[in-house]
Protein backbone atom coordinates (compact mmCIF):
# COMPACT_ATOMS: atom_id res chain seq x y z
CA UNK A 1 0.00 0.00 0.00
CA UNK A 2 2.93 2.33 -0.68
CA UNK A 3 1.56 3.92 -3.88
CA UNK A 4 -1.09 6.63 -3.50
CA UNK A 5 -4.57 5.33 -4.27
CA UNK A 6 -5.51 6.35 -7.86
CA UNK A 7 -8.28 8.96 -7.83
CA UNK A 8 -11.40 8.12 -9.87
CA UNK A 9 -12.48 10.90 -12.26
CA UNK A 10 -15.10 13.23 -10.78
CA UNK A 11 -17.86 12.29 -13.20
CA UNK A 12 -17.92 8.75 -11.87
CA UNK A 13 -19.58 10.19 -8.77
CA UNK A 14 -22.74 10.66 -10.84
CA UNK A 15 -22.65 7.18 -12.34
CA UNK A 16 -24.93 5.47 -9.77
CA UNK A 17 -27.51 8.27 -10.08
CA UNK A 18 -27.35 8.09 -13.90
CA UNK A 19 -27.84 4.31 -13.74
CA UNK A 20 -30.79 4.74 -11.39
CA UNK A 21 -32.44 7.39 -13.62
CA UNK A 22 -31.87 5.16 -16.63
CA UNK A 23 -33.55 2.28 -14.81
CA UNK A 24 -36.55 4.44 -13.83
CA UNK A 25 -36.94 5.63 -17.43
CA UNK A 26 -36.81 2.05 -18.68
CA UNK A 27 -39.51 0.93 -16.24
CA UNK A 28 -41.64 4.00 -16.99
CA UNK A 29 -41.40 3.33 -20.74
CA UNK A 30 -42.45 -0.28 -20.13
CA UNK A 31 -45.44 0.86 -18.06
CA UNK A 32 -46.57 3.40 -20.68
CA UNK A 33 -46.46 0.98 -23.57
CA UNK A 34 -49.92 -0.47 -24.19
CA UNK A 35 -50.05 -4.14 -23.36
CA UNK A 36 -49.93 -6.38 -26.40
CA UNK A 37 -51.59 -9.70 -25.62
CA UNK A 38 -51.80 -10.96 -29.20
CA UNK A 39 -50.09 -14.27 -29.80
CA UNK A 40 -49.20 -14.29 -33.47
CA UNK A 41 -49.36 -17.56 -35.32
CA UNK A 42 -45.96 -18.79 -36.47
CA UNK A 43 -47.67 -20.67 -39.31
CA UNK A 44 -47.65 -17.77 -41.78
CA UNK A 45 -46.02 -18.97 -45.00
CA UNK A 46 -46.66 -22.61 -44.12
CA UNK A 47 -49.28 -24.89 -45.67
CA UNK A 48 -52.47 -25.64 -43.77
CA UNK A 49 -52.17 -28.83 -41.74
CA UNK A 50 -54.29 -31.75 -42.91
CA UNK A 51 -57.76 -31.76 -41.39
CA UNK A 52 -61.29 -32.85 -42.19
CA UNK A 53 -64.09 -31.43 -40.05
CA UNK A 54 -67.73 -32.48 -40.12
CA UNK A 55 -70.42 -29.97 -41.02
CA UNK A 56 -71.07 -27.64 -38.10
CA UNK A 57 -74.43 -26.24 -39.24
CA UNK A 58 -77.36 -27.24 -41.41
CA UNK A 59 -77.15 -26.20 -45.04
CA UNK A 60 -73.37 -25.98 -45.23
CA UNK A 61 -70.87 -28.75 -45.78
CA UNK A 62 -67.93 -29.64 -43.56
CA UNK A 63 -64.46 -28.29 -44.18
CA UNK A 64 -61.13 -29.92 -45.02
CA UNK A 65 -57.74 -28.51 -45.94
CA UNK A 66 -58.29 -29.87 -49.47
CA UNK A 67 -61.06 -27.27 -49.96
CA UNK A 68 -58.46 -24.49 -50.09
CA UNK A 69 -57.50 -24.94 -53.72
CA UNK A 70 -57.67 -22.68 -56.74
CA UNK A 71 -58.18 -19.22 -55.30
CA UNK A 72 -57.37 -17.33 -52.09
CA UNK A 73 -59.97 -17.53 -49.36
CA UNK A 74 -60.61 -16.23 -45.90
CA UNK A 75 -60.73 -18.74 -43.08
CA UNK A 76 -62.78 -17.35 -40.21
CA UNK A 77 -62.38 -18.98 -36.80
CA UNK A 78 -65.54 -18.20 -34.86
CA UNK A 79 -68.27 -19.50 -32.55
CA UNK A 80 -71.90 -18.75 -31.82
CA UNK A 81 -71.05 -18.18 -28.12
CA UNK A 82 -68.46 -15.54 -28.99
CA UNK A 83 -69.83 -12.01 -28.59
CA UNK A 84 -67.37 -10.20 -30.91
CA UNK A 85 -68.15 -12.80 -33.61
CA UNK A 86 -71.72 -11.46 -33.74
CA UNK A 87 -70.32 -7.96 -34.07
CA UNK A 88 -68.07 -9.13 -36.89
CA UNK A 89 -70.86 -10.84 -38.86
CA UNK A 90 -71.99 -7.77 -40.88
CA UNK A 91 -68.35 -7.06 -41.75
CA UNK A 92 -67.92 -10.60 -43.08
CA UNK A 93 -71.13 -10.14 -45.08
CA UNK A 94 -69.63 -6.98 -46.57
CA UNK A 95 -66.40 -8.82 -47.42
CA UNK A 96 -68.43 -11.51 -49.14
CA UNK A 97 -70.42 -8.87 -51.04
CA UNK A 98 -67.14 -7.46 -52.30
CA UNK A 99 -66.06 -10.82 -53.66
CA UNK A 100 -64.29 -12.62 -50.80
CA UNK A 101 -64.85 -16.35 -50.40
CA UNK A 102 -65.16 -17.15 -46.71
CA UNK A 103 -64.79 -20.55 -45.07
CA UNK A 104 -65.61 -21.01 -41.42
CA UNK A 105 -64.44 -23.13 -38.51
CA UNK A 106 -66.79 -23.13 -35.53
CA UNK A 107 -65.01 -23.73 -32.23
CA UNK A 108 -66.70 -25.84 -29.53
CA UNK A 109 -70.16 -25.17 -30.87
CA UNK A 110 -73.54 -26.90 -30.77
CA UNK A 111 -75.33 -27.31 -34.09
CA UNK A 112 -78.58 -25.72 -32.80
CA UNK A 113 -76.72 -22.73 -31.36
CA UNK A 114 -74.84 -22.23 -34.61
CA UNK A 115 -78.01 -22.53 -36.71
CA UNK A 116 -79.55 -19.84 -34.53
CA UNK A 117 -76.48 -17.64 -34.81
CA UNK A 118 -76.45 -17.90 -38.61
CA UNK A 119 -80.21 -17.26 -38.84
CA UNK A 120 -79.78 -14.13 -36.75
CA UNK A 121 -76.52 -12.77 -38.18
CA UNK A 122 -76.55 -14.06 -41.74
CA UNK A 123 -74.39 -16.75 -43.28
CA UNK A 124 -71.43 -15.56 -45.37
CA UNK A 125 -69.71 -18.97 -45.21
CA UNK A 126 -69.22 -21.43 -48.08
CA UNK A 127 -68.57 -24.28 -45.68
CA UNK A 128 -68.35 -24.52 -41.91
CA UNK A 129 -66.33 -27.18 -40.15
CA UNK A 130 -66.94 -28.11 -36.51
CA UNK A 131 -63.82 -28.07 -34.33
CA UNK A 132 -65.11 -29.57 -31.08
CA UNK A 133 -61.78 -29.87 -29.25
CA UNK A 134 -59.98 -26.89 -30.86
CA UNK A 135 -57.69 -29.34 -32.68
CA UNK A 136 -57.48 -27.43 -35.98
CA UNK A 137 -57.34 -24.15 -34.10
CA UNK A 138 -54.24 -25.36 -32.24
CA UNK A 139 -52.75 -26.79 -35.42
CA UNK A 140 -52.83 -23.43 -37.20
CA UNK A 141 -51.59 -21.41 -34.23
CA UNK A 142 -54.83 -19.59 -33.48
CA UNK A 143 -55.47 -18.72 -29.85
CA UNK A 144 -58.96 -17.27 -29.77
CA UNK A 145 -62.15 -16.27 -31.54
CA UNK A 146 -62.64 -14.50 -33.81
CA UNK A 147 -59.55 -14.80 -35.94
CA UNK A 148 -59.36 -14.66 -39.71
CA UNK A 149 -56.65 -16.21 -41.85
CA UNK A 150 -55.91 -15.54 -45.52
CA UNK A 151 -55.21 -18.84 -47.29
CA UNK A 152 -53.86 -18.73 -50.83
CA UNK A 153 -54.89 -20.97 -53.77
CA UNK A 154 -52.24 -23.53 -52.86
CA UNK A 155 -53.47 -23.89 -49.30
CA UNK A 156 -50.65 -21.83 -47.78
CA UNK A 157 -51.44 -19.57 -44.78
CA UNK A 158 -50.56 -16.03 -45.83
CA UNK A 159 -51.94 -13.72 -43.16
CA UNK A 160 -53.56 -13.79 -39.72
CA UNK A 161 -55.97 -11.19 -38.38
CA UNK A 162 -56.54 -11.43 -34.61
CA UNK A 163 -59.87 -10.21 -33.24
CA UNK A 164 -62.94 -9.08 -35.13
CA UNK A 165 -62.43 -7.35 -38.46
CA UNK A 166 -63.56 -3.74 -38.16
CA UNK A 167 -65.53 -2.10 -41.00
CA UNK A 168 -62.54 0.14 -41.76
CA UNK A 169 -60.35 -2.95 -42.15
CA UNK A 170 -62.38 -4.37 -45.06
CA UNK A 171 -60.18 -2.79 -47.79
CA UNK A 172 -57.06 -4.06 -46.00
CA UNK A 173 -58.43 -7.63 -45.86
CA UNK A 174 -59.41 -7.48 -49.55
CA UNK A 175 -55.88 -6.26 -50.34
CA UNK A 176 -54.43 -9.22 -48.39
CA UNK A 177 -56.64 -11.57 -50.43
CA UNK A 178 -55.43 -9.90 -53.64
CA UNK A 179 -51.82 -10.22 -52.46
CA UNK A 180 -52.37 -13.93 -51.91
CA UNK A 181 -53.21 -14.38 -55.60
CA UNK A 182 -49.55 -14.15 -56.54
Amino acid sequence: MSEPKPQAPRWTLWLPLALFVGFVLLVAAGLMRPKDTDINSQMIGKPLPAFALRAAADGRGGLSNGDFRGKPRLLNIFASWCVPCGVEAPVLAELQRQGATIEGIAIRDHKEDLNGFLAKNGNPYERIGADDVSAVQLAIGSSGVPETFVIDGKGVIRYQHIGDIRPEEVPMMLAKLKEAES
Binding site: M1, T37, I39, N40, S41, Q42, M43, A79, W81, C82, V83, I107, R108, D109, H110, D113, D132, V133, S134, A135, Q137, L138, A139, I140, G141, S143, G144
Partner: protein, 137 residues
Protein backbone atom coordinates in the same frame (compact mmCIF):
# COMPACT_ATOMS: atom_id res chain seq x y z
CA UNK B 1 -77.97 -2.14 1.55
CA UNK B 2 -74.28 -1.66 0.93
CA UNK B 3 -74.41 -4.87 -1.09
CA UNK B 4 -77.24 -3.73 -3.31
CA UNK B 5 -75.15 -1.97 -5.94
CA UNK B 6 -72.43 -4.61 -6.31
CA UNK B 7 -75.09 -7.32 -6.45
CA UNK B 8 -77.01 -5.41 -9.08
CA UNK B 9 -73.83 -5.01 -11.12
CA UNK B 10 -73.10 -8.72 -10.89
CA UNK B 11 -76.65 -9.50 -11.94
CA UNK B 12 -76.26 -7.27 -14.98
CA UNK B 13 -72.80 -8.55 -15.87
CA UNK B 14 -73.41 -12.27 -15.28
CA UNK B 15 -75.32 -12.99 -18.50
CA UNK B 16 -72.65 -11.17 -20.52
CA UNK B 17 -69.86 -13.18 -18.91
CA UNK B 18 -71.81 -16.41 -19.22
CA UNK B 19 -72.52 -15.88 -22.90
CA UNK B 20 -68.83 -15.28 -23.62
CA UNK B 21 -67.99 -18.92 -23.00
CA UNK B 22 -69.00 -22.09 -24.71
CA UNK B 23 -71.31 -24.73 -23.26
CA UNK B 24 -69.67 -27.76 -24.82
CA UNK B 25 -68.56 -30.52 -22.45
CA UNK B 26 -64.79 -30.55 -21.84
CA UNK B 27 -62.64 -32.56 -24.26
CA UNK B 28 -62.35 -36.26 -23.28
CA UNK B 29 -58.90 -35.95 -21.70
CA UNK B 30 -59.18 -32.38 -20.42
CA UNK B 31 -59.87 -33.54 -16.87
CA UNK B 32 -59.38 -37.29 -17.16
CA UNK B 33 -56.02 -38.82 -16.42
CA UNK B 34 -54.40 -41.43 -18.62
CA UNK B 35 -54.79 -45.00 -17.39
CA UNK B 36 -51.07 -45.63 -17.46
CA UNK B 37 -49.57 -43.74 -14.46
CA UNK B 38 -46.15 -43.47 -16.13
CA UNK B 39 -47.65 -41.81 -19.19
CA UNK B 40 -49.87 -39.59 -17.05
CA UNK B 41 -46.78 -38.45 -15.11
CA UNK B 42 -45.06 -37.57 -18.39
CA UNK B 43 -48.11 -35.66 -19.61
CA UNK B 44 -48.44 -33.87 -16.27
CA UNK B 45 -44.80 -32.76 -16.35
CA UNK B 46 -45.23 -31.38 -19.85
CA UNK B 47 -48.56 -29.68 -19.12
CA UNK B 48 -47.04 -27.84 -16.19
CA UNK B 49 -44.50 -26.21 -18.51
CA UNK B 50 -46.92 -25.23 -21.28
CA UNK B 51 -48.46 -21.82 -21.08
CA UNK B 52 -52.19 -21.24 -21.39
CA UNK B 53 -52.91 -19.13 -24.49
CA UNK B 54 -55.68 -17.01 -22.99
CA UNK B 55 -54.76 -16.71 -19.31
CA UNK B 56 -51.20 -15.38 -19.71
CA UNK B 57 -49.72 -16.45 -16.39
CA UNK B 58 -51.03 -19.96 -15.91
CA UNK B 59 -49.84 -23.27 -17.21
CA UNK B 60 -52.38 -25.39 -19.06
CA UNK B 61 -52.30 -27.75 -16.07
CA UNK B 62 -53.57 -24.91 -13.85
CA UNK B 63 -56.12 -23.34 -16.16
CA UNK B 64 -59.81 -24.06 -16.52
CA UNK B 65 -60.06 -22.16 -19.83
CA UNK B 66 -61.69 -24.34 -22.51
CA UNK B 67 -58.71 -23.99 -24.85
CA UNK B 68 -56.38 -25.10 -22.04
CA UNK B 69 -58.60 -28.18 -21.60
CA UNK B 70 -58.35 -28.84 -25.33
CA UNK B 71 -54.57 -28.52 -25.11
CA UNK B 72 -54.42 -30.99 -22.20
CA UNK B 73 -56.60 -33.35 -24.23
CA UNK B 74 -54.19 -33.12 -27.12
CA UNK B 75 -51.10 -33.53 -24.90
CA UNK B 76 -52.54 -36.63 -23.18
CA UNK B 77 -53.67 -38.22 -26.45
CA UNK B 78 -50.26 -37.67 -28.03
CA UNK B 79 -48.36 -38.96 -24.99
CA UNK B 80 -50.66 -41.97 -24.93
CA UNK B 81 -49.84 -42.57 -28.60
CA UNK B 82 -46.17 -42.69 -27.61
CA UNK B 83 -45.07 -39.25 -28.76
CA UNK B 84 -42.07 -37.68 -27.04
CA UNK B 85 -42.99 -34.75 -24.72
CA UNK B 86 -40.30 -32.53 -26.21
CA UNK B 87 -41.65 -33.23 -29.71
CA UNK B 88 -45.07 -32.03 -28.56
CA UNK B 89 -43.48 -28.91 -27.09
CA UNK B 90 -41.69 -28.25 -30.39
CA UNK B 91 -44.97 -28.76 -32.28
CA UNK B 92 -46.60 -26.06 -30.16
CA UNK B 93 -43.60 -23.71 -30.39
CA UNK B 94 -43.78 -24.04 -34.19
CA UNK B 95 -47.32 -22.69 -33.95
CA UNK B 96 -47.23 -20.16 -31.12
CA UNK B 97 -43.57 -19.32 -30.74
CA UNK B 98 -41.65 -19.39 -27.45
CA UNK B 99 -44.68 -17.81 -25.76
CA UNK B 100 -46.30 -21.19 -25.27
CA UNK B 101 -43.41 -22.80 -23.40
CA UNK B 102 -42.29 -22.09 -19.85
CA UNK B 103 -39.07 -24.05 -20.36
CA UNK B 104 -36.37 -21.47 -21.05
CA UNK B 105 -34.38 -21.81 -24.25
CA UNK B 106 -31.12 -20.18 -25.26
CA UNK B 107 -31.90 -18.23 -28.44
CA UNK B 108 -30.61 -15.14 -30.24
CA UNK B 109 -32.78 -12.94 -27.98
CA UNK B 110 -32.50 -14.81 -24.66
CA UNK B 111 -28.75 -15.54 -24.48
CA UNK B 112 -27.98 -12.40 -22.41
CA UNK B 113 -30.22 -13.79 -19.64
CA UNK B 114 -27.82 -16.70 -19.34
CA UNK B 115 -24.60 -14.86 -20.21
CA UNK B 116 -25.00 -11.86 -17.87
CA UNK B 117 -25.15 -13.84 -14.56
CA UNK B 118 -22.18 -15.94 -15.67
CA UNK B 119 -20.30 -12.75 -16.58
CA UNK B 120 -21.17 -11.16 -13.21
CA UNK B 121 -19.83 -14.20 -11.34
CA UNK B 122 -16.55 -13.97 -13.27
CA UNK B 123 -16.25 -10.23 -12.59
CA UNK B 124 -17.12 -10.69 -8.89
CA UNK B 125 -14.53 -13.47 -8.66
CA UNK B 126 -11.87 -11.25 -10.21
CA UNK B 127 -12.71 -8.33 -7.88
CA UNK B 128 -12.64 -10.56 -4.80
CA UNK B 129 -9.31 -12.05 -5.80
CA UNK B 130 -7.78 -8.59 -6.09
CA UNK B 131 -9.18 -7.57 -2.71
CA UNK B 132 -7.96 -10.66 -0.89
CA UNK B 133 -4.51 -10.28 -2.44
CA UNK B 134 -4.28 -6.67 -1.28
CA UNK B 135 -5.15 -7.42 2.35
CA UNK B 136 -2.76 -10.36 2.58
CA UNK B 137 0.13 -8.37 1.08
Amino acid sequence: MRWALPLALVAVAAPIIASADDTMPPAPYAYRQLDDPAKEAKAEALMETLRCLVCQSQSIADSDAPIAGDMRNQVRLRINAGEDPEAIRQWLIQRYGDYVSYAPRVTATTWPLFAVPAGLIVVAGAVMRRRFKRTSA
